[in-house]
Symmetry: C2
DNA sequence: TTTAGCATTTTGGTCGCCAAAAATGCCTTC
DNA sequence: GAAGGCATTTTTGGCGACCAAAATGCTAAA
């Protein structure tokens, strides 16, 4: 994930909001207000504000606080975007090593610590995450067992089958409640993606947007069990897709499907939306996701060649 | 869970197998064989065997190994059963404290360490488990947020709605494959429960059997995402139900439903089984589980009185 | 009265060492 | 030659001190 420091994370988020204009120029950015929004104390927020004003993304007035400047210096946007996507993650490496069969099924913590040069607690975090995402489990004695769950393209089908079972149903839950504001926000994002140049946008971003759309919808069911189940499989999916190339055409099908669903929901045609969602997902299943088919095959070939 | 020591855990499991006759009298219990079965090394197994022969549950012959005795000394059975269910668990206490509103929504690790007098690592385990089971999450800064997910009887409904979405569908998965051996085993258990005296059996046991039945079925779908989703909500359910009283009549309805499902499956009528499963679950939803209605209401009353 | 700015307190992560637990290898016995 | 018994090696978890990060309280300025 992003750098460990809370101040840095807040700073990044604020930077994004300022650059995209979510926070308008001239606004007074109050420490307490930000602290409340993110449910943290004022200290890391303050550090973030200082850092941002150093970079030139905020203007500081002594004893009055920080303000969003009317004009943002040239080039800053690119600089920050670049810096943001740079950080690579041990967890991703670990996952990839497993996906590509560079690890044995049974591993000791020691060997992992050595391989990735991790401290005890870092390793702990990593394994906890892998366990949470369902592809690693403690053996009864020493060592961990890595599960083959995410390795084959079969897992892809399984995930889509699972989503097919929960997503359309979630829309029909009695506690379902439309959030038009969130819906409008996602319409904006999806429309943006229709026009974006696939080659020049990080695929994680596109993937994340798609996943976020589905998660937002299922959240409206107001049944947290549906929501967290989807989040869970999406995390696993990300693991398999995170370096995939995105197929422009398929992406566009996906996005217009999403927009169609939003249309239906906004018109209050929930049943139709649910039905359309089912079709949308089966479509993805048939095509093996709009995204990762090639990569998935490549991966399996590689896995095979080592067996 | 049971005592931390691997040898002890193995010893307990073996004890159960010996007492219930799963391992027949006179059998030679080979170290390596047990070690393989549990995927551990011989050392803790050996320790377990020594411990059991000290208790008199195994007979030791020098340089030949350990054997299940033809007759087991009087009273040993009770003694061991008692000792087994005795161990109370911080995690359970913690969960109950939260369910009954004795904790605030935001807690620091320190306060929890103090309250339950835990070392840092114990606390870590506890929170990891709560997070895994979905009702606690780290705040961004210091502290944890406890989620209301498990608190209301509404959560009950939500869990059943979720199960309603996945369980019947799982039976119809293309990869579904009947395991007659497992099925027969569960038939045995369910029939046993039909006759059992509810008052004299620990409710956890009855609950666990029910959950195990459903988990066994969904596992036959061969889609691990269905399986792990069910396991997840079942863990949460256990949290809410673990001290409930069991209603004999409802239990019997539940068990005969289960047996009916097994019948259908054994006759190959999968679609009918799926349909019946749906009815079975909606029934439970209508009745608020065969088990915990009273308790759930009591709990909420208590929660209310403190607000 | 609100909020920034600073000082102080509290929290939780990190590190290294040590002991307990588990895994492994070898030798012996039946 | 298969398995138990023992010795040795390896792994892991616990503990405590330390330190950076976050939370909190207070003061002064607008």
């Amino acid at each position: 994930m992003s750098s460990s420091d809370l101040a840095t994370r807040i700073s990044n988020r604020l930077a994004k909001d300022i650059l995209t204009g979510t926070i308008e120029p001239g606004t007074h950015v109050a420490t307490q207000q930000i602290a409340d929004r993110y449910q943290v104390s004022r200290t890391p927020v303050r550090d973030a504000l200082v850092a941002l004003s150093d970079k030139g993304l905020l203007e500081h007035q002594a004893n009055r606080g920080y303000f969003v400047p009317e004009e943002i210096p040239e080039g800053l946007a690119q600089e920050i975007a670049a810096q943001d996507s740079e950080e690579s993650d041990v967890y991703q490496t670990f996952a990839e090593d497993w996906l590509k069969n560079r690890l044995t099924e049974i591993v000791t913590e020691q060997s992992l610590r050595q391989r990735y040069s991790l401290t005890k607690s870092r390793l702990n975090d990593m394994m906890a995450r892998a366990a949470r995402e369902g592809w690693a489990e403690r053996k009864e004695g020493y060592g961990w067992r890595l599960l083959p769950v995410a390795k084959t393209s079969e897992a892809f089908d399984q995930i889509y089958r699972f989503r097919l079972a929960i997503e359309p149903v979630a829309l029909l839950e009695p506690s379902f409640e439309l959030d038009r504001k969130v819906l409008a926000e996602h319409r904006r994002i999806q429309e943006w993606m229709l026009e974006v140049d696939v080659a020049r946008t990080p695929p994680e971003q596109l993937l994340a947007n798609g996943a976020a759309f589905h998660e937002a919808l299922i959240a409206m069911s107001n049944n947290p069990f549906f929501a967290s189940a989807l989040e869970r499989v999406n995390r696993m999916r990300r693991l398999m897709e995170y370096r995939a190339r995105v197929d422009q055409e398929r992406l566009q099908v996906q996005c217009s499907d999403h927009i169609e669903i939003i249309d239906l929901l906004e018109r209050g045609e929930v049943v139709e939306a649910s039905y359309f969602m089912r079709r949308h997902l089966s479509g993805a299943l048939r095509r093996k996701s709009p995204i990762a088919r090639n990569w998935s095959e490549e991966m399996e070939a590689e896995a095979h060649s080592q067996a």
